[in-house]
């Protein structure tokens, strides 16, 4: 692995940590959902980076599946948060 690649990997991991802070702290549930979606996006990015590096196609399949589930999960959970009663 080259130095640039390790640098970008560390940058993404640091960004995921910042997203994790928002995920724990977020005042509303919408903030938490947004942070969770961003974490999934970052994991897709990490998997793509790794797939380009080690020449293994399974990483790309995993990235595609994660992107699919992240999209469907975000839309469904946003609808749920919108329609549920005021119980908080």
């Amino acid at each position: 692995m080259s130095g640039i690649l390790i640098t970008s990997l560390l940058l993404i991991v640091f960004a995921l940590l910042l997203n994790g802070i928002r995920l724990v702290r977020g005042p509303s549930d919408f903030d938490r959902l947004l942070a969770a979606e961003t974490v999934a996006l970052g994991l897709v990015g990490l998997l793509m980076l790794r797939a380009g590096e080690v020449d293994d196609r399974f990483y790309v399949d995993a990235a595609l599946g994660l992107a699919l589930f992240s999209f469907v999960g975000t839309v469904v959970f946003a609808k749920y948060l919108e329609l549920r009663g005021d119980d908080e």
Binding site: F30, L34, G42, G52, R57, V60
Partner: protein, 117 residues
Amino acid sequence: MSETGLELVGIVADLLALAGALFFLISAIGLLRLPDFFCRIHAPTKAATLGVMLLGLSALVRSLAQGELVWLEDLVILLFLFLTVPVSSQVLAQAARRRGIRQVSQTTEGESRQPPC
């Protein structure tokens, strides 16, 4: 492909990956520091999408250099992310607006004079 060509492809892919990681870090900082939800949703919608697209583009460049048909799968992921991330963010913002979650004072509807973000 020749030796120098492969080297060039590797350098280009590395630079694309670095740019994508930087954009993703910028979006994470924005998500952490902006004042309310409607400001915060800007960061992952635009900057993180661009960052992940650049990371995927780096993988696409690498697999294009291999000369087989494996690059199609990278292209599928890129198109899928390009279509779905804005859609899910829009659904999220619409849901938050209908629920009327708390905003900072400058983002009230109608008479916004100085946008906070």
